[in-house]
């Protein structure tokens, strides 16, 4: 994908109605507040980055949205209607971090399991395998995969899910620069096809490459949110990178 294509996708995104709305989400662990009054929205074909340091609450936020964790307060809306926890998996697919699923199985079997569950055609499966570069390791067992290929496998599982909104926790963890650029291209292509992505990233340079909009998360609160230009305006740093903006706003 060229930069101009990416810009066209972003412009189209700007006019789209909200697909997912998170309103006043609060999550507590005993006395500790992990998330406080989180509110943001995601539109169709948009890549939203949850940016924050370790312990900011990115994973907790994704898991509460996915319905894997209960919330103390807040509402998740899907196309304007409240989406109960039991129906989240119908609309949202979450790819967790640090997961090596079914380690004794071959990669091809794991991929075809999810493809069978979601009734994906062979053509679609082949396309996902090609996009994620899993072809060399299809005959390997999952436990024998390197960190990068393990991450590619998770990415493939996420792409095989037919959901309109896919959330990924640290999708670039384990990739080198070239691999990260390849995966950024894959994710941007998915967004241009109309799929929305919410990515929890703590590597700001990677986030800047792939995301349309950013939510700066710090200590369980959203410090600031918007496109890079909007964040620059809020931080009053016209030519700053995301790293400087994050430090200024949180």
């Amino acid at each position: 994908m060229t930069a101009s294509n990416a810009v066209r996708c972003i412009r189209r995104v700007g006019d789209a109605p909200a697909l997912l709305q998170v309103e006043d989400l609060t999550k507590r662990y005993g006395d500790q507040t992990a998330l406080a009054d989180i509110a943001f929205s995601v539109v169709r074909g948009e890549v939203v980055g949850l940016i924050g340091p370790n312990g900011a609450g990115k994973t907790t936020l994704l898991e509460t949205i996915a319905g894997l964790l209960s919330v103390d307060a807040g509402v998740i809306r899907w196309r304007g209607e409240e989406l109960p926890t039991s129906r989240r998996r119908e609309a949202i697919f979450y790819v967790p971090d640090g997961v090596r699923p079914y380690r004794d199985q071959y990669v091809s079997i794991v991929v075809s399991f999810l493809a069978d569950v979601y009734r994906r055609s062979e053509h679609e499966v082949a396309a996902v395998i090609r996009l994620t570069g899993l072809t060399p390791v299809l005959g390997k067992r999952v436990h024998a995969l390197s960190k990068g290929y393990g991450r590619r496998l998770l990415l493939a599982l996420g792409l095989l899910a037919p959901h309109q909104l896919v959330m990924m926790d640290e999708p670039f963890d384990g990739f080198d620069l070239r691999q990260t650029r390849d995966i950024v291209r894959v994710l941007r292509d998915e967004a241009c096809r109309g799929r929305s992505l919410v990515l929890a990233i703590h590597q700001l340079a990677d986030a800047e490459r792939v995301c349309d909009r950013f939510m700066l998360l710090s200590a369980g609160r959203i410090g600031a949110g918007g496109t890079l230009d909007e964040l620059r305006a809020q931080a009053k740093l016209p030519s700053a990178h995301l790293e400087e903006i994050f430090l200024a706003l949180t």
Partner: protein, 342 residues
């Protein structure tokens, strides 16, 4: 792009196939089979031997003969080995069905798939039952050998016995699944990933439960950090926050002791079997009633003695004789085993 509603249901066969693949590809099931086979085999050999001797003794006592039953004398002791194996080892097989996915985080993917909770549990339970079936192959083989030797098998009684063992296996499997569901960390199963270079090895399962053990939580990160720090040596943990003490998981020493006991028992059984010369007569029919029954009579460990004039005693359910009956046929042309005082 499909609408979210289309992901509401999914076919069950891929889930079942996945569960079966998982349980078959793990080491726990095969280790159980490896340990259970000599146990069941030894039980079978002993049962047949004792039953043969009892049959011989029953020659002189019709009252004793009426109390002899292959069900009680052979099948129950043989399946006793399976009972021991299921009690001690099957939980390690069954618990893996769920604990592995909890430990690797795959459960977080699984619960997002378009299956109801009931379907997920059902698939896992079916996998556990299939594992029991595979673990029962040695016992079923022993029964088949008994039948091939001509021993009596009442279909109703045998099926009833097997059904009871199936129910017991299902109970053990259900308890193991329940334990795996409520425990935060997985038990150190025999299938602990000694082959895995990742941070999710068996060492992690020895860590104490830390509140909030889900990925992203403090406990989860603590485990990963500790695992990384201990990756150089699986025996030394430099991370001060980790508790490598075996006492941290009370089930670890218990299960270790159980396995050690079973291994020792298995070894002693093997030694006993190898030291005791199993004579060919064990596998030969002690008496063949040529005209009345094609079935085989009781078997014995004593060497065969040729005595064509001695009476031939048949204990069988052959068409000529009802079960639990001993009767003397007039003559026996084949080699047979007389009773000790004959």
């Amino acid at each position: 792009m499909r609408s979210p509603e289309l992901t509401a249901s999914a076919p069950l066969p891929p889930l079942l196939a996945k569960e079966l693949r998982e349980i078959v590809s793990g080491r726990a099931l095969w280790i159980m089979g490896l340990l259970a086979s000599p146990l069941i085999g030894y039980g079978f050999v002993q049962a047949v031997s004792l039953y043969g001797e009892s049959s011989g003794a029953a020659l002189q006592s019709p009252a004793l003969a009426t109390s002899l039953s292959p069900l009680d004398g052979v099948l129950v002791p043989t399946l006793g080995g399976l009972y021991v194996a299921v009690t001690l080892l099957f939980p390690f097989v069954a618990i893996r069905v769920l604990a592995d996915e909890k430990e690797t985080g795959a459960l977080r993917l699984l619960v997002q798939l378009p299956y109801s909770t009931g379907h997920l549990i059902l698939a896992k339970f079916i996998a556990v039952l299939c594992a029991w079936l595979l673990a029962s192959i040695p016992a079923l083989s022993a029964i088949a050998v008994w039948a091939a030797l001509g021993g009596h098998l009442s279909p109703v009684e045998t099926l009833n016995l097997l059904f009871g063992h199936l129910l017991y296996g299902a109970l053990v499997g259900a308890i193991a699944l329940f334990a795996a569901a409520i425990l935060e960390s997985a038990l150190p199963t025999p299938s602990s990933r000694s082959h895995s270079p990742s941070a999710h090895g068996s060492l992690i399962s020895r860590f104490p439960d830390v509140p909030g053990g889900s990925p992203g939580s403090h406990g989860y990160r603590l485990r990963r950090r500790c695992a990384r720090s201990s990756r150089v040596s699986s025996l030394s943990i430099s991370c001060s926050e980790c508790l490598p003490s075996p006492a941290a998981s009370p089930l670890s020493p218990a299960s270790g002791c159980a396995l050690a006991f079973l291994s020792a028992r298995g070894l002693s059984v093997l030694r006993h079997v190898s030291s005791r010369r199993l004579r060919p007569s064990l596998w030969q029919p002690s008496c063949i009633a040529p005209s009345t029954s094609p079935r085989i009579a009781a078997t014995r460990l004593r060497p065969p003695i040729s005595a064509s004039s001695a009476p031939c005693h048949v204990l069988s359910s052959s068409p000529c004789i009802s079960r639990r009956k001993i009767r003397a046929t007039p003559t026996c042309n084949a080699t047979f085993l007389p009773s000790s005082n004959a």
